[in-house]
């Protein structure tokens, strides 16, 4: 396309101005666009040509619509926190089940019979360890939240 490009391969100044004013024919515009799409120098010059003219504003809700359409990214930290919350909830549930808290909340009286109690020491041990673990996760999350706030 004669007259559109300089000897160095970049676009003529007047052509960029005509482009910004919509004065190029369809073929010429597409030919110039082919170059602009991969040349940062000419893209910058085209932007300046548009800046020197009269801009058209998009609808007022444009930016909000773009923001709404942005993909929601789940970062590694968010996934970890989510997993931590799930584990915490599971630990809390196990703790409630094995610690007798539920029975206390229900207000049921313990009936004492002359029966040798089965050995629940292993269960109590697990319950105690899970309780400690859930406390650690809780502290970790509080720490993370404080760090984020900083």
């Amino acid at each position: 396309m004669n007259g559109l490009f300089l000897p160095d391969g970049h676009v003529e100044n007047q052509v960029l101005l005509d482009f910004s004013e919509g004065k190029l024919g369809p073929e010429e515009m597409l030919g110039v666009a082919e170059h602009l799409g991969s040349c940062e120098i000419c893209a910058e010059r085209l932007a300046e040509a548009f800046d020197s003219g009269k801009p058209s504003a998009p609808p007022a809700g444009f930016a909000e619509e773009v923001r709404r359409r942005l993909p929601q990214r789940e970062t590694g930290a968010e996934l970890f926190l989510y997993s931590a919350r799930v584990v915490l909830a599971a630990c809390a549930a196990l703790f409630l089940v094995f610690s007798g808290t539920l029975r206390t909340l229900a207000g049921t009286q313990n009936s004492y019979l002359d029966i040798t109690a089965p050995g629940f020491s292993a269960v109590e041990q697990i319950s105690s360890r899970l309780n400690g673990f859930s406390q650690q996760i809780l502290h970790w999350e509080v720490f993370q939240h404080a760090e984020k706030k900083k």
Binding site: S38, E40, A43, F50, S56, A60, G61, A63, E64
Partner: protein, 169 residues
């Protein structure tokens, strides 16, 4: 370069007029331009890791030009003839286009095109394109779900693109 969402959102506000104007100049269709301008920013967001951080204006300009060029060369870009189900959403599906406004980009002309849509598409189109309303504001005022409004706006845009094209023929 790792994306900073807040910086990117500032870039949208800073460059939206430039990008929209480029798309409008190339496509000469207000509604196609709005769509392509949105696609430009979305593409920039998705490909941010390829951006060296030096010149966002030039980078966004190049993306916008490429988007418009691909759109103009695409055979699928023609909106006419409208499918029957879409034509049914116009107030006068078989009617002639209104007398061409002197300035096709004027608010009056765009309002006139929005007026050719049936409800509920007309009101959401008029609010968004003519009354400077954001969809979130419209959702608050009308009590309607924002996803519902988004779907209606999407459909309205499709019809408006076709009406614009019809006028050009």
């Amino acid at each position: 370069m790792r994306i900073n969402v807040r910086q990117f959102e500032c870039a949208i506000v800073q460059y939206q007029s430039l990008i929209f104007t480029i798309c409008l100049t190339m496509t000469k269709n207000y509604f196609d331009a709005e769509d392509l301008a949105q696609e430009t920013f979305l593409s920039a967001y998705r490909n941010w890791n390829r951006f060296d951080g030096e010149n966002p204006k030039a980078w966004l300009t190049a993306i916008a030009v490429n988007k418009c060029r691909d759109f103009l060369k695409s055979p699928a870009r023609k909106s006419l003839p409208l499918p029957e189900e879409d034509a049914a959403l116009l107030r006068d599906p078989g009617g002639l286009p209104e007398e061409q406004a002197e300035d096709r980009m004027s608010k009056e002309h765009i309002r006139g095109l929005c007026g050719r849509l049936k409800e509920p598409y007309r009101s959401v189109a008029e609010s968004y394109f003519c009354d400077e309303k954001k969809l979130s504001e419209l959702a608050r005022e009308s009590g309607q779900n924002i996803r519902t409004l988004e779907t209606r706006l999407y459909r309205a845009k499709k019809l408006l693109k076709a009406l614009w094209e019809e006028e050009q023929q």
